[in-house]
């Protein structure tokens, strides 16, 4: 765009001159542009994540405890159903929160906004293969 006026001063410019350069520049812009988008969406994702994990634990525990109470009610196993399912609910809720926060079981592009922009084609297309494969121990 800056090069345009000085080009027009010379003889009628070849429309194809500098085409390669312009394409390269446009490509570079295209690559650069997502970083701005990512910044915004990183904020969105952070906000979304924060709002979504809050309820995860509460619902898991209350739902599991309610289920335990219902099982007790049907089978007359009071108080074991409510006890067992309460702790299962706590575990399940924490598992969900842990997963939401650590990005396990979410694709690569979701949790790592910083590594997201650089490999533009590959990012996101490559879902995480094995969420449980972090067991080096």
């Amino acid at each position: 765009m800056v090069a345009l006026p000085e080009m027009s001063e010379r003889e009628p410019p070849d429309p194809l001159a500098h085409l390669g350069e312009r394409i390269d520049k446009a490509r570079a812009d295209r690559v650069r542009r997502p970083s701005a988008v990512v910044d915004r969406s990183a904020m969105q994702q952070g906000l979304g994540l924060g709002l979504r994990i809050g309820i995860e634990l509460v619902v898991a525990i209350s739902l599991a405890t309610g289920l335990g109470w219902a099982i007790d009610h049907w089978l007359g196993t009071r108080p074991w159903g409510i006890i067992v399912l309460f702790f299962l609910g706590v575990a399940a809720g924490m598992l969900n929160v842990y997963r939401a926060v650590s990005g396990i079981s979410t694709p690569v592009g979701y949790r790592r906004p910083d590594g997201y922009g650089q490999s533009e084609d590959g990012a996101g297309k490559q879902p995480s293969q094995a969420p449980w494969d972090d067991d080096e121990n």
Binding site: Q44, V59, A64, L88, A91, P107, G109
Partner: protein, 243 residues
């Protein structure tokens, strides 16, 4: 118009056209009306936007294109390969919830997403779809979702129920999150509005808070639609690319 002093009154379901089939009450209510309006608005936006599709988009077309690109980006980066076939579903879900939430922000309108049954129906559709896709794509192997590998056998006895529970909780968290956010926000607005109406001269303070809250509610309305859609994408991703 009198300002409501009953903060929960705004969520009352009213039958507009009473319909009873058999013993079932399938009346057309104000909640159903708001849903209809949301659907009509989304459809109208898309029809108007694409009616005269141009290379250089006009106002409506650029709105529609922004919506499209936003959801397409979300689908691509969260489902990845083979995700585009779910684009219509996610797009419909996102735009519907977005419009339903935003319609609720119009004073004296009805917030249909503040009804748990509405959000639960949406979440149940997502849950059933995700489970069905998982089973269709992977068959019996889909159950391996509940069996973390690399874990000692005796621990599976504990871990499988936990995994099962955390899977079946999904439709509930999905629906309660949206419903609770909308319900709480709108109740809060009504409470501060009620304060302002009842304390006369000092009403400036609660009114000021309400101004801020309205801004927050707009954020929540958009964000909750986004969260719902992105979680749908994540669940779909899990069902499509079984780990």
């Amino acid at each position: 118009m009198a300002i409501e002093l009953h903060p929960l009154e705004q969520f009352t379901i009213e039958r507009i056209i009473p319909i009873h089939i058999g013993g079932l009450d399938v009346s057309y209510t104000n909640a159903a009306l708001t849903m209809t309006i949301a659907v009509v608005f989304v459809t109208a936006l898309m029809v108007i936007a694409t009616r005269s599709a141009a290379l250089v988009p006009g106002r409506w077309q650029s709105v529609a294109e922004m919506l499209y690109e936003f959801v397409a980006d979300m689908v691509d980066s969260n489902i990845g390969q083979g995700g585009r076939q779910f684009f219509p579903f996610v797009f419909t879900l996102f735009t519907f919830i977005l419009f339903a939430n935003l319609l609720g922000m119009i004073p004296f309108s009805y917030t249909t997403t503040s009804q748990i049954i509405v959000t639960f129906a949406l979440a149940a559709v997502v849950f059933i779809l995700v489970t069905a896709i998982g089973i269709i794509r992977h068959g019996f192997h889909f159950l391996s979702l509940f069996v973390p590998h690399g874990v000692p056998k005796f621990l599976l006895l504990l871990l499988v129920p936990i995994e099962l529970l955390s899977y079946f909780i999904r439709p509930f968290t999905l629906s309660i999150r949206l419903f609770a956010n909308m319900l709480a926000g709108h109740t809060m607005l009504a409470i501060f509005g009620g304060f302002a109406a009842s304390i006369g001269v000092f009403a400036l303070f609660p009114t000021g808070i309400n101004v801020l809250l309205v801004g927050l509610e707009f954020l929540v309305a958009v964000l909750q639609a986004y969260v719902f859609a992105i979680l749908t994408c994540l669940y779909l991703n899990e069902a499509v690319h079984l780990h």
